[in-house]
């Protein structure tokens, strides 16, 4: 069964057409990513699904309930972590969670246990009884996530949950979310600017641009259309030609480009190929100053699917990636 169904959603604010026919479906127990640049309509979509914002046209269902006709039932099923922290700063972390839990219908010992468990799991136990005013931005963000989870919702909306988190906290939150999705059979709709995040967490994702879904697929499928990663090698000396020949000859390297002392190799999976590239250079007696792996960023993917200089030869790859969505897109505009 689908936990979330969105069909032809349209929403106009006075001046702005925020959503221009967004459609997607999220399966139960899945982590689904909603990617897109600023103003694409990600938050608007999530806010509509969280029953905060009314929409003009289309259909939206969460956990089998109509957002429009039975918002109360939807609210019972969901947890919502807004883009902007909704923490009560004058209250402690624990008080925030206890109140939220009570309102969400959790009581007594079960609530206290749950709150302790969340504080522990999100690394807030040491600060539980301090007012949230004294929290760092990252701590507040984690409290936001805990607030969304306190009543064990069936569906969780996360609007840019890791923005403002340091890499360590981000990785920890990813782990926690993965664990929850597994243990609590949670369906998660996640918006993010980080393809890396979607890559790590999302089973499937859509890219939204100017209020429409431009592409849908698994992170792998989307990255494949971008020819994978690039491995950049900074060379110690000006022996670029030799290095280029050695690397270009490797079977997993699609293409190698030399730019001064910088050699870039395009491969499917940077992490796997980097060792091969380094040892090939070693064998060719080229000394290396530094190696970096770059993965396609959201910007690249976004430009790839919506850019104006969209090249004809890419159209087939796009069509393939869109196929599961039955694609409707902003590309026609």
């Amino acid at each position: 069964m689908d936990a979330i169904v969105v069909e032809g959603l349209r929403k106009r604010y006075k001046q702005v057409l925020a959503l221009d026919g967004v459609s997607f479906a999220v399966r139960e127990g899945e982590i689904f990513g909603l990617l897109g640049p600023n103003g694409a309509g990600k938050s608007t979509t999530v806010r509509i699904l969280a029953t905060l914002t009314a929409f003009d046209e289309g259909r939206a269902e969460v956990a089998g309930h109509s957002v429009q006709h039975d918002p109360a039932a939807v609210r019972r099923a969901i947890g919502y972590v807004p883009q902007e922290s909704g923490v009560d700063r004058d209250a402690t972390g624990r008080e925030n969670l206890l109140l939220q839990g009570r309102i969400q219908g959790v009581r007594g010992a079960a609530l206290r246990t749950r709150v302790d468990e969340l504080l522990e799991g999100l690394g807030l136990a040491h600060a539980a009884d301090r007012t949230a005013r004294t929290y760092s931005g990252g701590m507040r963000r984690r409290l936001d996530v805990a607030l969304g989870l306190v009543h064990r919702p069936a569906v969780l909306f996360l609007d840019e949950p890791t923005t403002g988190l340091d890499p360590e906290a981000r990785a920890a939150l990813w782990e926690e979310l993965e664990r929850l999705a597994r243990v609590e059979t949670l369906t998660i709709l996640l918006t993010t600017h980080y393809l890396e995040e979607a890559d790590r967490l999302a089973g499937r994702l859509v890219i939204v641009s100017r209020g429409t879904v431009v592409v849908e697929g698994t992170p792998e499928a989307l990255k494949q259309t971008l020819q994978g990663d690039s491995v950049t090698v900074e060379l110690e000396a000006a022996d670029g030609e030799r290095a280029h020949t050695a690397v270009a000859a490797l079977p997993e390297v699609h293409e190698a480009v030399l730019d001064g002392r910088q050699l870039r190799a395009f491969v499917d999976q940077g992490a796997r190929s980097v060792a091969t590239i380094v040892s090939a250079l070693d064998a060719a007696a080229v000394s290396i100053h530094a190696v970096t792996i770059a993965r396609p960023s959201l910007d690249e993917v976004y430009l790839h699917y919506t850019g104006r200089d969209f090249r004809a030869e890419d159209a087939e790859a796009v069509a393939a990636a869109r196929a599961p969505a039955g694609g409707r897109g902003g590309r026609e505009r």
Partner: protein, 258 residues
């Protein structure tokens, strides 16, 4: 119904707990009413020589008025808390939960009333120390507390309605000032009604602040008219229902704007 009550209660708990955590707020809460009483008591001491005050000291005359004025100001400004919740996205967070919608507004209004009543209690204790005695005794004191609660609620409703419509602190401050001073001076808080110009006394009859002052005075001054007290309390209760309705409507306007 029990859900509304429970949710309102929990939300009030949140507001009072947060307030109790701020030492400055507690100090202001305690000091402000005393300043009113001591300052105005001194400032207008000679007013007792004017006709219309009966045989009581000016402080005694002033006490119920100060209680009501304090409740009125507190209520009028109470919507600032709502603006803070809006700015900090706390309200939106609650809106995405199964929280009772009415409780979100009602709790703020009742909180205004409760704080007004607590301040009234402080004023009464200070007044007692200054030699003020309620002629009606304990029921008189209770009447003053109840009046301040209702005045706090009634204007809390107005204030939260305005907060939800304006959603900006600056606008809110202007509006609160706009409402505040005229209503205060169009009442017999500081002077007896008999010494007001005729037109003013006439207008004062329609002033909710005056309703509160009249009701509270029945508990403190000699010659209590319980019928008048009940009537004015009834007016205040009716007004509270209306202003809560206004605030709830403003809340819907706000929700539709999201």
């Amino acid at each position: 119904m029990p859900r509304i009550v429970a949710h309102t209660w929990w939300m009030i708990g949140r507001q009072l707990r947060n307030l109790a955590r701020e030492p400055i707020w507690i100090a202001l809460l305690l000091i402000q009413p005393m300043i009113w009483l001591l300052l105005y008591g001194q400032l207008f001491r000679n007013v007792v020589k004017l006709p219309g005050f009966g045989a009581v000291s000016y402080v005694t005359f002033l006490t119920p008025g100060i209680v009501v004025m304090n409740a009125f100001f507190g209520g009028t400004w109470s919507g600032m808390a709502m603006i803070q919740d809006l700015d900090r996205h706390v309200l939106e967070r609650f809106l995405a939960t199964r929280s009772s919608r009415i409780a979100l507004v009602l709790s703020q209004v009742v909180r205004s009333g409760l704080i007004a009543a607590v301040q009234a209690l402080i004023i009464l204790v200070v007044a007692l120390a200054l030699g003020v005695r309620a002629h009606a005794g304990a029921p008189g004191w209770l009447l003053v507390l109840l009046t301040s609660f209702l005045v706090g609620c009634a204007f809390g409703g107005v204030s939260h309605g305005m907060a939800l419509i304006f959603r900006k602190e600056a606008t809110m401050i202007a509006a609160a000032n706009f409402v505040g001073l005229p209503l205060l001076f169009l009442s017999s808080t500081l002077i007896a009604r008999t010494s007001m110009p005729h037109w003013m006394a006439g207008l004062a009859r329609f002033n909710p602040v005056e309703w509160g002052v009249v009701a509270a005075r029945q508990g403190v001054l000699p010659g209590a008219d319980w019928g008048s007290a009940a009537a004015h309390l009834g007016l205040l209760a009716g007004l509270t229902v209306v202003t809560v309705g206004f605030a709830t409507w403003a809340f819907q306007v706000y929700r539709r704007s999201l």
